[in-house]
């Protein structure tokens, strides 16, 4: 690995971080409102399937994205109603969504396409086009020009979307009455109730946003990364996003940075394969395990003093003050 690789490596880390960011921010809305969301993985997977299927029918990535978001919102609302209205166990519900998603995507995929659970490969027209800025105004400084071109090249509109989502979430959470109410909803719902704001409606609103973002995460996997839906293509990213949310202490900018960290270890994988330390070849599986090990280490370091939303996981009864 030499110096010229670094911008490419960073660009690849950013690309890999996008689904994590969407999913982690989706989880942030749910959990800030007081609903613990183990189901990110399943909603990403369902979103990815919807994106792959819809984009291949429509031949248009934006329609695919909308399809993924619609499915995400539907599932999030079902989860929300079961958590809020029926006071279900939120952990069990999330797990159930993940298991239903692994089965349902493959079941429907086989029934529709008979490709072992895969959706048809998307033609270029059905995928988001990647930008490739040349920075020709920097011709005088070729090193900087190629570094910037490497860093900025290969991204799609969804990369921008993920960063915008983080910025908007930051503004909403700390500088809008909606965000402050959501904050209260997850920490002290009875206070919100006393103030005449509906805790239930707040949580449903949070779940709608959660579904939109989970859909975007899935659409990124299927339309940008995979070029089709593959069975179990989330591979634990929903859980990694959850770990990023916890390590990021439910704060949008920190969550973004942790997602970058996970994605960077993932991006390093392809570079580190064939690595040997002190004459001993490092097994490729050890390198592949890095993001998971990192997630556990980060949780072990911080979870003890994390500031989880206080009312997370507890169903709220109206008028319970």
């Amino acid at each position: 690995m030499d110096f010229a690789d670094i911008p490419l490596l960073l660009a690849s880390a950013i690309r890999l971080s996008i689904p994590l960011i969407f999913a982690a921010i989706a989880g942030l809305y749910a959990e800030r409102s007081g609903i613990i969301d183990i189901g990110l993985e399943g909603k990403m997977l369902l979103g990815a399937f919807a994106a792959g299927a819809v984009a291949s029918v429509a031949g248009n990535p934006y329609v695919g994205l909308l399809g993924a978001m619609a499915v995400g919102v539907m599932v999030s609302l079902v989860q929300g109603v079961a958590s809020v209205r029926f006071r279900g166990n939120q952990l069990v519900l999330g797990l159930a969504i993940n298991i239903i998603a692994t089965g349902l995507t493959v079941f429907v995929g086989i029934a529709l396409y008979a490709r072992g659970g895969q959706t048809p490969p998307l033609p270029d027209g059905a995928r988001f086009s990647a930008i490739a800025p040349q920075f020709s105004w920097l011709e005088g400084v070729p090193a900087l020009q190629s570094a910037l071109a490497g860093l900025a090249g290969g991204h799609t509109i969804l990369t921008l979307g993920a960063f915008v989502a983080v910025a908007v979430t930051y503004l909403v959470l700390y500088h809008s009455s909606f965000g402050l109410r959501m904050y209260a909803c997850g920490d002290k719902p009875e206070a919100l109730d006393s103030a005449g704001v509906s805790v239930y409606r707040m949580r449903y609103q949070a779940m709608v946003i959660n579904g939109l973002l989970c859909g975007a995460a899935g659409a990124y996997l299927a339309i940008v990364q995979g070029g089709a839906f593959y069975r179990d293509m989330t591979a634990g990213q929903g859980y990694l996003a959850l770990a990023a949310l916890i390590f990021g202490n439910w704060k949008p900018v920190r969550v973004l940075l942790v997602c970058q960290l996970f994605a960077a270890t993932d991006a390093l994988q392809s570079r580190l394969q064939g690595l040997s330390i002190a004459e001993v070849d490092v097994p490729v599986q050890a390198i592949q395990a890095m993001p998971y090990v990192l997630a556990i280490l980060l949780l072990a370091i911080t979870a003890g003093k994390s500031e989880a939303p206080l009312a997370g996981g507890k169903p709220y009864t109206k008028g319970q003050r």
């Binding site: 183990i38 989860q79 079961a82 958590s83 029926f86 006071r87 279900g88 166990n89 952990l91 069990v92 519900l93 797990l95 159930a96 969504i97 993940n98 298991i99 239903i100 998603a101 692994t102 089965g103 349902l104 493959v106 079941f107 429907v108 086989i110 029934a111 008979a114 659970g117 591979a235 634990g236 859980y239 959850l242 770990a243 916890i246 097994p283 599986q285 050890a286 592949q288 395990a289 998971y292 090990v293 997630a295 556990i296 949780l299 072990a300 979870a303 003890g304 994390s306």
Partner: protein, 371 residues
């Protein structure tokens, strides 16, 4: 009729309603892909119970699900969700395979106690780090155990492909067991009386599974330790005041949960695969969750639910042959739906179930009083 029995009956009815609701939605799904759900479910039943070898497979899978269900339930009694059953089973499979390789001369009946103890120990060991992290570092068990699943899977790929695979073999699997190390299959035993049934992997581990279920029942409901463990889960503040060491009970429950799930490895490796294979427990950990929830975390309920899911798992495999557009993943969807209803709509179903049992019981008591 005591209130306790009435509540148990209500729970049973709620579980049955849950299964019915899941089967109904599964049926809608089968209908949606253009097949007849009644015929599909009939095919599942036929595949699971229609032949002796079908029953053998059903009960073999049920053996696995008893272990994974008991494991999930034990941790659930301290309000912890151990979803790392697969990783714990893979790690347990490692010691089972290594014992078989180390002791090639040892017959199965001498190897079995060693393998059971080793699998329990390794299963518990793989759960020990997440258990420590829950108790000492307040790390969410769901996240740590799922990460440990991915790590276990990668570890096993490395060990099988790079270390244990016999030289010259292309298949990603460890060396085969000696014939004398294989657990006797029950259908073989029946056939020794002159029958000619098709073989199935059902083996003596089902008796171990039943014995372990009884032991878990005794330990949880008939010992001080079990009482403390359930108290720690039911009301940790009250238990703490009463002097129950919450952290220690939680850690013990999670490690024992891993030990129980680990026993699946003995059943699969010495009883069915006869070698260490990749992904030999794929999906079994999650089925254990559905089994434990349907079985209300009680050993008796878990055994019954394990047979139900064994039947779905075995019968689901035969669906593919009969209906080209229905894949066995419909069983995964059913599992998920059962878990969803158990977790989310239990509160919705339970009042109806209780009302129904109440109505039935009052009618039966009225009759006896009248007579």
């Amino acid at each position: 009729m005591t209130a306790h029995t009435q509540s148990a009956l209500g729970g049973l009815l709620a579980s049955l309603l849950n299964i019915a609701a899941a089967l109904f939605l599964g049926g809608v799904l089968i209908l949606a892909v253009g097949e007849n759900p009644f015929r599909a479910y009939a095919a599942v039943l036929e595949g699971a119970f229609g032949t002796v070898d079908g029953i053998g497979y059903t009960l073999h899978y049920a053996t696995n699900f008893i272990f994974s269900g008991l494991g999930f339930a034990l941790a659930a009694h301290v309000r912890q969700f151990n979803i790392g059953g697969e990783g714990q089973a893979y790690f347990a499979g490692l010691i089972v395979a290594v014992l078989c390789i180390w002791l090639p001369w040892m017959p199965w009946w001498a190897l079995l106690p060693l393998a059971v103890a080793g699998a329990a120990l390794f299963g518990a060991a793989w759960a020990a780090v997440p258990a420590y992290l829950v108790v000492r570092r307040n790390c969410h068990l769901v996240i740590t155990t799922i990460m440990f699943n991915f790590i276990a899977s990668l570890l096993m790929i490395y060990l099988i492909v790079s270390v244990l695979r016999p030289a010259g073999s292309m298949a990603p699997a460890g060396p085969g067991l000696e014939p004398g190390q294989r657990l006797p299959q029950i259908i073989d035993m029946i056939n020794s009386f002159g029958f000619r049934f098709q073989p199935a992997p059902l083996n003596v581990m089902i008796f171990v599974a039943l014995a372990v279920s009884y032991a878990v029942y005794r330990a949880l409901w008939r010992t001080k330790w079990g009482y403390e463990l359930r108290a720690a889960g039911a009301n940790d503040r009250a238990a703490r005041v009463a002097g129950v060491p919450i952290g220690r009970m939680t850690a013990q429950a999670i490690c024992l949960s891993g030990a129980l799930v680990g026993l699946m490895a003995v059943n699969e490796i010495m009883g069915a695969q006869h070698r260490l294979t990749l992904d030999f427990a794929l999906g079994y950990g999650f089925i254990g969750i559905a089994v434990a929830l349907i079985g209300a975390n009680t050993p008796l309920g878990i055994v019954a639910a394990a047979v139900l899911f064994g039947a779905l798992y075995q019968g689901g495999a035969s669906l593919v042959f009969l209906f080209p557009s229905v894949s066995r993943e419909v069983v995964v969807v059913l599992q998920g739906l059962v878990i969803f209803f158990a977790g989310g709509l239990a509160t919705m179903l339970r009042p109806y179930a209780d009302a129904l049992t109440g109505a039935l019981l009052s009618r039966s008591t009225a009759k006896t009083e009248g007579a």
